[in-house]
């Protein structure tokens, strides 16, 4: 009943150029890394690629290197490795915490940095079997005309639920992308667009190669709200990087959120806190900013209201913890 037919070809290129070439030659192909998101969707009939291009054979995609530029993380690095790499945990704590917070140990052993960044958006009306979606007349994101979350609109509200993207965003990471026209480097925040149907700015056939973190790091944390302490996607996830001056005033504050909007968002207007002490007034104002900028919709069983409050609550807590002396060392 719910079983989709699995009839695809698998290609296993040995270098990036061959992978790009294969993607260009095979219409309807998809890149396959850990498969923890893609294969689930394929089995649900959400994606019916004629061809999967398995990136596992490409040498060099799964390295973590410390360079003058900072830290370079290959897109094929697994989340398990990312979480346990001392260079990451020591200087980019939010990223290590985010990687460790993804799903369960089995998933993290397979899932990759690139795959988590390119995670499909999620919605209760979308992540269902073919029978389910057909019975419901499909939806705006896939084969249908109506968004069941907001039937009046013509916008897909499926939520982006990757954990590591907000951590990278507050840490000022860039991503390296390869395509038929060569390579480009963009800020991690520019990888995403505000559309649940097309939330990645990657052109067809483009491949995410690596993530780059600047050498100077500021203290950072990541936390997520979820019903279970494992397996669950974030109902709301928050990353915070807080740079304090020696007199404990805000030099820089970056906040990013996931699980609430069609893309991970970098909180706007946090520059207003520059020079301020971290006190109850600041935390309250910051929580208000979060509540105004997140846009959770009925895309999961937990209420949108809860996700909004939890996002604000997490940000408050993380900023508070990072501003407490000795806590949250980089």
């Amino acid at each position: 009943m719910t079983g989709a037919r699995l009839d695809f070809q698998v290609i296993r290129p040995l270098d990036v150029a061959s992978a790009i070439k294969a993607a260009a030659e095979h219409a309807g192909s998809r890149y396959l890394a850990g498969g923890t998101d893609l294969l689930v969707n394929v089995r649900h009939g959400l994606d019916r690629p004629a061809c999967l291009i398995d990136l596992g054979g490409i040498d060099g995609l799964s390295r973590i290197e410390v360079t003058d530029e900072g830290l370079c993380i290959g897109a094929g690095v697994t989340l398990a490795e990312l979480a346990r790499t001392p260079a990451v945990a020591a200087r980019y704590r939010a990223l290590a915490e985010a990687a460790a917070a993804v799903a369960g140990p089995g998933h993290r052993a397979m899932a990759t940095v690139g795959g988590n960044l390119c995670l499909d958006t999620r919605c209760i009306y979308y992540n269902q079997s073919e029978w389910w979606r057909a019975a419901n007349g499909y939806c705006l994101k896939h084969r249908g005309e109506v968004c069941h979350v907001a039937p009046q609109g013509q916008r897909c509200h499926a939520a982006y639920c990757g954990d590591i993207a907000p951590a990278l965003m507050v840490l000022g990471a860039t991503v390296e992308i390869a395509g038929t026209h060569g390579q480009r480097r963009i800020p991690s925040v520019d990888l995403y667009a505000d559309d649940g149907r097309a939330h990645l700015t990657l052109a067809p056939g483009e491949l995410l190669l690596s993530v780059h973190l600047p050498p100077a790091s500021v203290p950072s944390r990541y936390a997520k709200a979820r019903i279970r302490g494992a397996i669950d996607f974030p109902l709301a996830g928050a990353a915070v990087a807080l740079d304090l001056s020696t007199d404990r005033r805000v030099n820089g504050l970056k906040v990013a959120l996931t699980g609430t909007n069609p893309r991970p968002i970098l909180l706007e207007r946090t520059e207003m806190f520059r020079g301020c002490a971290v006190d109850e007034a600041l935390l309250k104002q910051l929580a208000n900013l979060v509540q105004k900028q997140v846009e959770p919709m009925r895309t999961t069983t937990a209420s949108a209201h809860y996700r909004r409050l939890a996002a604000a609550g997490l940000v408050r807590r993380l900023v508070n913890e990072l501003s407490t002396p000795t806590a949250g060392a980089p």
Binding site: M1, T2, G3, R5, G104, I124, Y125, N127, Q128, S129, W131, W132, A134, A135, N136, H148, A225, I227, R228, G229, A230, I231, D232, F233, L235, T301, A302, S303, H305, Y306, L309, A310, G313, L314, R316, R317
Partner: protein, 776 residues
């Protein structure tokens, strides 16, 4: 004959399950692992609509597809099925009308999964839709269309029971309070997915059925009914089962459909359901709204109880009548309450049918009762332990609704968890956001009146011995992981004074084993255990006779310890077990004895309508303490520790008892914290283990288990049930702990972060309003 303690019984740590090694090494074959190399693949075509008439069903293209061997529809089975003879209102494949999204309409058997799937996609069904109801309130509303014409108001069963003088009871109370609770529907979420392998031999017209069932006997009955076959032509075999919890305690539509396909294809058909289909098959605990009113005196004495329960039962009857009766009956049998009024309503709705689930019927009643008890006690300034102690029963007793209580270890359970948790030193002294809560619970040790009344014994065990000296216990009882086969082996070995590995247990093959009603209502230990002891006693008498002949002594002087028969304790003349067996077989040949157990009529419940439900030979009792922390940023609850004590009469196998208690607590925790099934216009929003949130190991707290042994006068070695009783105490203990931690009394289950957050926000709002009103 003298009764002696054998080595096994002296080993109070217990023994690993006799089939445990096969399971942990992967050698155990579950239904999906059976050899199905030459089997066709079965698939089911399911309704996309919640409620409607089938206007046209066209399966011709599917039938014509290459590789399709059989297609069956409602036309192929004009017989209803169901677990209760009085409420069989469901067809295995819909006939003319569908009542929930996911209801089976047609099915196919094909050479492979791909062809079967293609055939499903070629089926066409048109409907004339009818109004659909997804809540009990909507289904009961004035003018609502009836799901079943003979059930006015869409009420499957209304129960009105009054015991004692309720009005007088409330009049004697110092405080009367009513509280309301709403508890989400949950599912068993057993790990092994539903599967069945049916093999129909067109020459002999015989059907061999292997399935995940907990009730092979019922399955045989229903297959005979729905396939219009002679019972004797059906053989039912139960392979290893990977979790029951009530999910397979009634015959399921896919089992009958698989058999229909096998007959239509004249061959073997394997059906394996997806997780989504498991949730559509459902048969679990219904969404329930419950009101409970208690009267209490300052001493903590309960003077009266009034309870109203509304269960949203889904589209068909299933076990519904029993569930709604249990919900009322199990108000009794745990505390001494002088007056009880119960009103229960089992309501139809256009959703997958509910059924029995671990703690059947009693869990939500217990939740509401134990929460309300705590709240009223709090108002009166009474300690939760004290208020429960003020209302204990005295065994032996007969409750107002005719339930027998012959052993009662609840007082000791309270003592044990109160001490172990350090309750009196710690309550009220924990840091902010942390709290302690407690609750009690109980459960039946087998329904004293079987669902299908035949006049036969409640349980039969055959015990065979042959020239090799091996003992083979034959039982129809379904071991579904709870350890029932191990229990049978221990009962036999213990009674005969032989080592456990001399006993082999063959279970659940209708061609070989005596009929058994199955694994439900925690009946196996009590009933099958007693039957096994009875069989072993009969065999022991035969062996002792033989030994006496050989040893030229009187049978009364013979005893068997450690597989050696002696004259008197420490007697010189001795015979090894195998020699005695050989002696017994002279002139006789292989010996098979039969042991039986029957619940006496006085244990079979009160005379009132529905009085049989809840009746049992003995209740297990449990008390537990739960310690929680509540995170204020995300409103997430974590359980830090659980202390639980269960009176199981006597722990035949303490290791298995501990496992069952931990499992009950853990399952109660799932229902309390995170599990719920939700529907979007009748479509399951929870159709996978990502959205149906069974706790992970991260949420699993240390569970400290205390076994209390009250030695029931009728139980096997004094034993009662141990697998369900500790479940129902968890949700109220957790809710009471959260109230202790953050001062908020929550009225809904599960206590998910969004519900806790909503309660915190509501309290802030109330505080603001109060402050605003307070300032001029």
């Amino acid at each position: 004959m003298t009764v002696t303690k054998s080595a096994i019984r002296a080993n109070r740590a217990g023994v690993p399950l006799i089939d445990g090694m096969e399971k942990v090494t992967g050698r155990a074959r579950y239904t999906a692992d059976l050899d199905h190399a030459d089997a066709l693949v079965g698939r089911i075509f399911r309704s996309p609509v919640s409620h409607g008439d089938i206007v046209r069903l066209d399966v011709s293209k599917a039938r014509a597809l290459d590789g399709v061997l059989a297609v069956v529809t409602g036309d192929d089975c004009p017989y209803t099925y169901g677990v209760l003879p009085v409420a069989m209102n469901e067809y295995p494949l819909a006939r003319g009308r569908v009542r929930y999204r996911g209801e089976p309409i047609a099915a196919v058997a094909a050479v492979d999964a791909e062809t079967a799937q293609r055939a499903i996609e070629l089926m066409v069904c048109e409907f004339r839709e009818r109004p659909a109801y997804y809540t009990a309130a909507d289904a009961r509303a004035e003018g609502a269309e009836l799901l079943h014409d003979n059930k006015p108001g869409n009420v499957e069963r209304a129960v009105h029971h009054v015991f004692g003088d309720v009005d007088a009871g409330f009049a004697q109370a110092d405080l009367v309070r009513e509280h309301q609770f709403s508890c989400a529907e949950v599912n068993h979420a057993q790990i092994e997915l539903h599967a069945a392998l049916a093999d129909y031999d067109p020459q002999s017209h015989r059907l061999t059925m292997q399935s995940v069932s907990q009730v092979g006997y019922y399955l045989q009955l229903m297959l005979a009914r729905c396939l219009d076959m002679e019972l004797s032509r059906i053989r039912m075999i139960k392979p290893f089962v990977g979790g029951g919890f009530g999910a397979r305690v009634e015959v399921l539509n896919f089992e009958i459909i698989t058999a229909l396909l096998a007959r239509a294809a004249s061959g073997k058909v394997m059906m394996q359901l997806t997780r989504e289909e498991n949730f559509l098959t459902h048969r679990a605990r219904p969404q329930t709204d419950i009101k409970i009113k208690l009267g209490m005196q300052r001493s903590g004495r309960i003077t009266a109880c009034e309870c109203e329960v509304v269960q949203r039962g889904g589209a068909y009857a299933g076990y519904g009548i029993v569930t709604i009766l249990y919900a009322g009956a199990l108000l009794q049998g745990i505390y001494d309450i002088p007056a009880i009024k119960y009103d229960g309503y089992r309501v139809y709705a256009n959703l997958p049918p509910c059924g029995a689930m671990r703690g059947h019927g009693g869990v939500i009643t217990r939740h509401a009762f134990e929460c309300a008890l705590d709240r009223i006690a709090r108002e009166l300034g009474l300690d939760p332990f004290a208020v429960r102690r003020a209302n204990l029963l005295q065994a032996p007793t007969l409750t107002m609704n005719g339930l027998t209580v012959n052993s009662y270890g609840l007082a000791e359970c309270l003592e044990r968890v109160e001490q172990a948790s350090g309750w009196s030193e710690r309550i009220g002294k924990l840091p902010p956001g942390k709290g302690l809560g407690m609750a009690c619970s109980h459960y039946v040790s087998g329904a004293a009146k079987p669902v299908h009344w035949t006049g036969e014994p409640h349980a039969v065990v055959n015990l065979k011995v042959d020239f090799d000296g091996g003992l083979t216990a034959l039982t129809g009882a379904a071991d579904i992981g709870q350890g029932s086969s191990t229990m049978v082996a221990i009962a036999v070995a213990e009674t005969l004074g032989v080592s456990l590995d001399r006993v082999r247990v063959i279970a659940g093959d209708s061609a070989v084993t005596p009929k058994d009603n199955g694994a439900y209502s925690s009946r196996i230990t009590f009933m099958v255990g007693n039957a096994a002891i009875d069989a072993a006693r009969r065999l022991r008498a035969i062996l002792i006779e033989a030994a006496a002949r050989k040893l030229e002594a009187a049978p009364d002087d013979i005893e068997c310890v450690g597989e050696v028969f002696r004259v008197g304790r420490g007697g010189q003349a001795a015979l090894p077990f195998i020699e005695v067996v050989k002696a017994a077989l002279v002139d006789e040949g292989p010996i098979t004895v039969k042991g039986t157990f029957t619940c006496p009529p006085e244990a079979q419940g009160g005379k009132h309508k529905g009085g049989a439900v809840g009746s049992t030979m003995g209740f297990s009792y449990a008390a537990q303490v739960v310690e929680v922390s509540v995170d204020d940023a995300t409103a997430t609850i974590s359980v830090d520790k659980v202390w639980t004590a269960l009176d199981c009469g006597y722990a035949i196998n303490p290791l298995a008892v501990q496992g069952q208690i931990e499992g009950s607590v853990w399952m109660g925790m799932g229902q309390a914290m995170s599990e719920e099934t939700r529907y979007l216009d009748g479509l399951p929003a929870h159709a996978g283990l990502l959205e149906y949130r069974v706790p992970s190991i991260v949420e699993s707290p240390p569970i400290e288990v205390h076994i209390v042994e009250s030695i029931d006068p009728n139980g096997p070695f004094g034993a009662k049930e141990a697998s369900e009783g500790a479940l129902a105490g968890f949700p109220p203990a957790l809710t009471n702990a959260v109230a202790n931690a953050i001062g908020i009394e929550l009225d809904e289950l599960p206590l998910t972060p969004d519900r806790v957050m909503a309660a915190l926000v509501a309290r802030q709002r109330r505080a603001r309003l109060a402050a605003a009103r307070g300032t001029p």
